[in-house]
Symmetry: C2
Subunit: 552 residues, 2 copies
């Protein structure tokens, strides 16, 4: 028995609550009181049907404090669950996969350590939110843009990169546009990935490239370390920018749209990640499930098709709304518009609207005027949405993208649109599919049937995750305060994941509930990650059960 | 002691040559004779000052045979060194870092398993060369392009991806445009990375994305497994294509050029990786070191500046020649040309020439006519070079890119331009630098002084490896048959690596001689890779000493 295994065995002598108490005492001796202060209640809330309870919460402010916490936790045999801002809506929020973990809340580590205009990057700590970085760029009037994701202004950049989230702009693939991780390993040591491993390496913020095996990928969707710093690439503000909105008035035209857009991504005309929202998904952004008119037992579009039709009409919601943007010099954007228009010509029932950056403030004003005119208010609402979207495409993360998350919530939304406050339940299942008509049809047929069978509206977003693949973010929305709906949502989730994976559509990330259903479907992969976990973290100090299967 | 450690201990009872003999016998019993047949002599040749001798060579044809070889090698405690085509010129060629390894030559595994036109990819085995894939695309008249690297038509695609090589087109970053590895692990098990881990996953050839830690990077520049299959993305043939050649007539103008091109990469106007060749590097493509006029003891440009000037004039070689290409629809390429011209206007002494794909055959004819005209032959030579380059930018890997590797060789080149046959020595040092004037100046000052101090011509290529970083491929060229020059080359290499790393310019890949000098400069990184090696390959069966440091 080696030294590490011995100390693991010693740790197991302590019963779990006792061990956590010991850890709390030791940390209280070494760390400032503000690291230890605070409540745990808010961390037990989740958009998922179930949630977990932490032992206690720590709020470190520095990497050294994180190292101290990890070292003591390993010694006491208490698991640690790191969260950046904890806004992983639909995929587990701030909850550890199991009870009794110490929550390592990194939101106080929120320094933007550097913004480099010449080489277009920012170095950020895990607590830095996308709203915060956007505000900083804007306040300092820097000629840089960031790519935003739909998780709202309070979502962490580092957290999203580590989950390999997908934004809407040319830097939509968040992980592909980041490098230089600083990682606290399970033994408390500090690792810098890439060139950061070399003292003074000048290109350390500029490329993932460095000699030897590339480790960054290992620390995404894993539990081999706590990331305390990251370089996040920014785009220079382009000379010209144009958002585009493609509306499809027939549902099945989405298949033609996917075929039309794929060549544009492959050829480089489209550098952004186009996201296409289904009608029910868009509707959720404007209003909620009408519990006063329907039971909640069945999918609204199946039970009350006429009601849905009138709601869609009211908010002028098309069958699909696809959103993207073009960037470059004025001549290039003009050229790309032509190519895009031409490519869309054969797409049935499609129209496309371009909105330049300059037009967005005008839309906002127009929306306000329409609102004041009373009966035309419903027109103003979509205009405000468009304006928010155009700004979103320029990096201003908006709470507007969160309004859709309240669909079956029954309480009023707070100003930050936190779905936890509306009682809204969400489980997101995000399968990867080839960007072809056939696969879009097949994956949707499976999903729609499953949603409807369990009495939920089929809401989905199709996002380009690479030049060749899409991810369909399928959102099971339910009333989390209803036991019945929660149970149905979980059954819907389980069947949906199994059916999709059987058909070859595997989620790209997921709630622990989702990932648990994948472990026996890719045994060698998960066994290898487990083997690496065993060597780097033999005591399972960091995030046990998150992605990598637990031992045994 | 666990089972693995026990069998490792048992293996060590066998003395090394005995163990190799045992392994050979066991393999001969299980595998067809053609896997075992053949000579080892050609594998001992290297462009480096020193080389190593393998125990014997095996030529498997299937993944199952590779698994069998790895399993037996692990049991016998004999290390295996896998090579794809063995053309890793300047970085170690086909040589293992040490004597006595069994060379696993994968060149007979040369099947192109699939070419998909709709989704633009090819699935290839490690023996597939870039020439072979290009010929296949052309013969079948498929509307797809591949990105070529300068290692000649006989270089392996998989081998180059695993070394994270850099080509010239929009898919220049080879590793960024590949996914879906099939890996034989040190225990003989088969791992499929990404979605390939899931039976029947439909997007497995289309994205690196998949749930859980991303492992592909781990298998690049490492020794954790033998890659037997890979998906390599291809570009759809663009509607329009234009190569461009930027000539700088003043040496220091390269700094301005780097500043001018960076914003174009950052903004997406340039999607290709521009490569800039220094005068001495270009000269090496036309002719050789004039041993009849100079001693070989000193850098030619220092000892005989007038001679060099006349040689440069003869071949019309500018101070720098930068090469790249534009792709897209006709309107887009036209727009990008405008933007590029405008960006180059402030670059001192620069001129730019655009050559469309259609013009290339014309150039070839013009070159031939000029050659026939006798006195103008010297004009024809550069034209042929341009033509070869334009075709190269369209994926036709050419032996023309290898002619520069014979600079100090004394024997005639064979038709495949193999540098091993000319007695040419090469050690390539490839530091990463920020794409800024300051860093280009600083890194070059360090390197030039070092080359000159050891009596070698300073030959370099600056390549864009990301939107923000360059890599300078510095080529120490020497007469490998001269003990004096070989010893000087090694000293030059050692000093160059140390000086560059001290200044913050770390190589992105390298010969084992280079990597050995980096191990104590990034201790946590290398210790972690060593820890992973210990758990995945406790007996060091696969490529001991390649990138990951050996135990102890």
């Amino acid at each position: 028995m080696n030294a590490t295994a011995q100390s693991a065995a010693q740790a197991s002598y302590l019963s779990a609550p006792h061990a956590a108490e010991t850890l709390r005492e030791r940390l209280a001796q070494e760390l400032p009181p503000e690291v230890m202060a605070g409540e745990t209640l808010s961390y037990q809330r989740s958009t998922a049907p179930t949630s977990t309870t932490p032992a206690f919460v720590v709020w470190p402010e520095t990497t050294t404090q994180v190292q101290c916490i990890i070292r003591h936790a390993a010694r006491c045999g208490v698991p640690i669950y790191p969260i950046s801002a904890g806004k992983n809506w639909g995929y587990g929020d701030a909850c550890a996969p199991r009870d009794g973990c110490v929550l390592l809340d990194l939101s106080r580590m929120n320094r933007i350590l550097e913004v480099n205009t010449e080489l277009a990057y920012a170095v950020v700590e895990p607590g830095v939110t996308q709203g915060q970085l956007f505000e900083t760029l804007e306040r300092q009037n820097l000629p840089l843009w960031m790519d935003a994701v739909g998780a709202g202004p309070e979502a962490s950049i580092v957290g999203n990169v580590l989950e390999r989230g997908i934004g809407l702009g040319p830097y939509g693939d968040r992980f592909a546009h980041a490098c230089g991780m600083e990682v606290v390993l399970p033994n408390g040591e500090l690792l810098r990935t890439g060139l950061g491993a070399y003292e003074g390496a000048k290109a350390r913020h500029l490329t993932k490239s460095a000699p030897g095996p590339q480790l960054d990928g290992l620390f995404t969707q894993g539990n081999f370390g706590v990331i305390t710093r990251l370089t996040f690439w920014l785009m220079p503000k382009p000379q010209a920018f144009s958002a585009f909105f493609i509306r499809l008035h027939e549902d099945s035209a989405i298949e033609q749209l996917v075929e039309a857009l794929r060549p544009l991504r492959l050829s480089g005309t489209l550098r952004c990640s186009v996201h296409a929202f289904s009608a029910m998904r868009v509707l959720g952004g404007f209003t909620r499930y009408p519990y006063h008119l329907a039971s909640g037992e069945h999918a609204l579009e199946r039970e009350h098709p006429k009601l849905v039709a009138s709601m869609l009409r009211r908010y002028r919601v098309p069958a699909w709304l696809a959103v993207g943007s073009l960037h470059g010099s004025r001549v290039e954007v003009r050229a790309a518009k032509k190519v895009l228009r031409r490519a869309l010509a054969p797409v049935r029932s499609a129209d496309v609207h371009f909105v330049s950056g300059k037009l967005a403030p005008w839309l906002r004003r127009a929306g306000r005027i329409l609102e004041r005119l009373g009966p035309l208010a419903k027109l103003g609402d979509p205009l405000n949405k468009i304006e928010a979207f155009v700004e979103f495409l320029q990096g201003r993360a908006s709470t507007a993208t969160l309004t859709g998350s309240h669909w079956r919530g029954r309480h009023e939304a707070p100003s930050n649109q936190d779905p936890l406050d509306t009682g809204s339940g969400m489980l997101w299942v995000s399968p990867l599919l080839p960007a072809t008509a056939k696969d879009v049809r097949e994956a949707q047929n499976i999903a729609r049937a499953c949603f409807h069978a369990h009495g939920f509206e089929y809401q989905t977003t199709l996002s380009q995750v690479s030049d060749r693949a899409l991810c369909a973010i399928m959102s099971i929305q339910f009333d989390r305060e209803s036991t019945n709906e929660s149970a149905r949502a979980q059954r819907c989730h389980d069947e949906l994941v199994d059916a999709l994976v059987s058909a070859g559509y595997v989620p790209y990330r997921g709630h622990p509930l989702t990932i648990a259903r994948l472990h026996d479907k890719a045994k060698t992969h998960w066994a290898l990650t487990r083997q690496i976990k065993d060597t780097l973290d033999p005591q399972e100090t960091i995030a046990p059960g998150r992605y990598v299967p637990t031992r045994g």
